[in-house]
């Protein structure tokens, strides 16, 4: 017999969708970024940092890091759920992942708005 575990209020579908939406955004951003970076007249501090200090690019980059954090949260959590069965350990890993990603997102915001 298959024992089914009830795992909460169907956050599965929402996260699945969010993972795909953020992935799509990251694809678009990657193309824009690659184009902007590869066409820089010169790869020095002035040009490179100016790339991110424009209002639009700063916003798009910020959105990229937010997407990345949400995307990686869903993805890494899926990986823990596949391989780590003891509940306490799994919960701890989920929390560490969450804290790290929130921290990284804050760090990215700090970098972008200091420019």
């Amino acid at each position: 017999m298959v024992k089914r575990l009830v795992v909460g209020a169907h956050y599965g579908l929402r996260d699945w969708l969010a993972q795909r939406a953020t992935a799509t955004y990251m694809v678009l951003y990657t193309i824009v970024f690659a184009f902007a970076a590869l066409t820089l007249p010169k790869m020095d501090y002035e040009h490179w940092s100016a790339l991110f200090s424009g209002g639009l690019m700063r916003f798009l980059t910020f959105l990229f890091f937010m997407s990345l954090a949400y995307h990686a949260w869903v993805g890494v959590r899926d990986i823990w759920m596949d391989y780590v069965k003891p509940l306490g350990l799994r919960l701890a890993l989920h929390l560490i992942t969450l804290f790290l990603l929130v921290g990284y997102a804050g760090w990215a915001a700090k970098i972008l708005w200091r420019l």
Binding site: A23, T24, V27, Y45, A72, G75, V76, I79, A108
Partner: protein
Amino acid sequence: MSEASVARKARPKFLDLREIRLPLPGIVSILHRISGAGLFLLLPFLLYLFDLSVSSPETFATYKAIVGHPLVKLILFGLLWAYLHHFCAGIRFLLLDLHKGIELEPARQSARLVLIVSLTLTVILGVWLW
């Protein structure tokens, strides 16, 4: 003995790790997971480099020195591949989710394409950047 357990016994098992051949789409899939996990693990390092590179002309010079180190270059080369593979395989998964190319042959071909494109781009970009 019940019929079910007889049937279970008769099922062929083929779990010889030296003999199992993972099909191409399976390889793309597991590499997608490995690349995603690798990117996550090295994210703080990438953020640190990004921070240095845009903070001031002095930290930019530090950044240049760090990425000039052969070992760091190797790591970044690996990360570049991880990103590109995750990127290409990710696009493939998104299309599969939309039921594009889910038949066996197209799925095999797109898996091969993902491996080839991400490796080629890694070499081109890697050589060009360093």
